[in-house]
């Protein structure tokens, strides 16, 4: 029997696989899972979370940006932020009026991101970032969801 883990393993192997993401959305729908609409939206937009890794020790946490495959250099996706503004505002509350493009580890993992006792950090997984994003989609109004799915949503 197929489980969600089967789909997620496939997406871990190929995060660009929008067809598997769409099938996962159908599977989640069949199980009345609130993440279904968000996974379907990611599949339709053909975007996936891209980890921006830095070897610079000054950067203590990963930045995640949803990527659509454009703007690559040497086969490596360079930073893009392509989730519509309304969606990002649900995920990352506005700061000083700024819209935000990036999702940080602490957005996804909350306080558990940093362990004060050991001084160590946790890094979110692709699956955790996607779950975080798709649950945010479910909080949008039907009109906002419709704008995104119809490709008329505003970007930052």
């Amino acid at each position: 029997m197929t489980t969600e883990d089967d789909f997620q393993k496939q997406l871990d192997a190929d995060p660009t696989d929008w067809m598997t993401r769409g099938v996962l959305a159908d599977w989640l729908d069949e199980h009345d899972d609130p993440r279904a609409a968000g996974y379907r939206a990611l599949s339709m937009l053909q975007v996936w979370p891209n980890r921006w890794s830095s070897s610079d020790s000054r950067m203590e946490e990963e930045q995640w940006l949803f990527h659509d495959g454009r703007g690559t250099h040497g086969g490596v996706p360079i930073r893009e932020g392509v989730l519509p503004t309304a969606w990002m505002r649900v995920l990352v509350p506005s700061q000083d009026g700024d819209a935000c493009l990036m999702i940080l580890d602490h957005d996804v993992l909350g306080e558990s991101w940093y362990d004060k006792d050991t001084g160590t950090y946790s890094t979110a997984t692709r699956r955790q970032v996607e779950d975080f994003a798709v649950l945010g989609f479910s909080k949008l109004t039907p009109s906002q969801q419709s704008d995104i799915l119809n490709g008329i949503a505003v970007f930052v």
Partner: protein, 222 residues
């Protein structure tokens, strides 16, 4: 001369603390003459800041001019060699030699236009997603290379480059992507941007391990 620029926005105490605690000792440490301009984008005139900075306090009559245009106003105001910007709301110095660390690459290499915390950028294609910023993609198209930019929050720039390449005034770019676009403009203009390892500037994040860092701009320090 170093011209320090601060932008106040409903945070007079933090602005004064940034100047008195973090900037003045470091400016004195460089041995160069210095001036300051405080652009106040607050709704109300602030008598404390006005008394502290006198003619260098420029209340914008209640209009929030945003980050980029505010710096443009300050840069044009005083002839200087170098611009030092520090966010008034967030940041903290841990060593008074931090401004000298920013100054050294500017003094030793005339092709350095800006320095600070260099990090990977969105591409101009990414910025072109922003409504009203489609022109960025064409203007700053680069043939090759992963883009980098000097992170906002704290930086030093050569004044002549800031005058030559002012921040865009479009509303969409007045506060967002400003640091990316100014970096690309300087690089297109033949200047280099360089990293200063003792400076750290992050956005929406906290730096816990301060080993070796002389200035941190993050959400936790103010």
């Amino acid at each position: 001369m170093i011209h320090a620029v601060l932008i106040a926005f409903n945070n007079p105490d933090q602005t004064l603390r940034r100047w008195n605690r973090d900037l003045v000792p470091a400016l004195i440490h460089t041995g160069l003459p210095y001036r300051v301009t405080v652009i106040d984008n607050s709704a109300a005139h602030n008598p404390t800041l006005a008394a502290a900075f006198k003619a260098d306090y420029l209340w914008q009559e209640g209009e929030n001019r945003q980050y980029g245009p505010s710096i443009n106003i300050a840069v044009a105001r005083i002839p200087s060699d170098f611009i030092l910007y520090a966010c008034s709301r967030h940041g903290q110095a841990f060593d008074p030699s931090w401004v000298q660390d920013l100054l050294t690459p500017m003094q030793t290499d005339p092709t350095v236009g800006m320095c600070g915390f260099l990090m990977g950028s969105n591409s101009p294609e990414g910025v072109a997603h922003v409504t009203g910023c489609e022109w960025v993609k064409e203007k700053y198209r680069f043939e090759d290379g992963v883009h980098q930019h000097v992170q906002g929050g704290v930086f030093m720039a050569r004044t002549e480059t800031m005058l030559k390449f002012p921040y865009p005034s479009e509303p969409a770019l007045a506060h967002l992507y400003t640091d990316h676009v100014i970096t690309w403009a300087m690089e297109k203009g033949g200047y280099r941007v360089v990293d200063v390892p003792t400076i750290c500037s992050v956005w929406r994040s906290t730096v816990h391990q301060t080993n070796g860092l002389k200035y941190i701009h993050d959400d936790a320090h103010s």
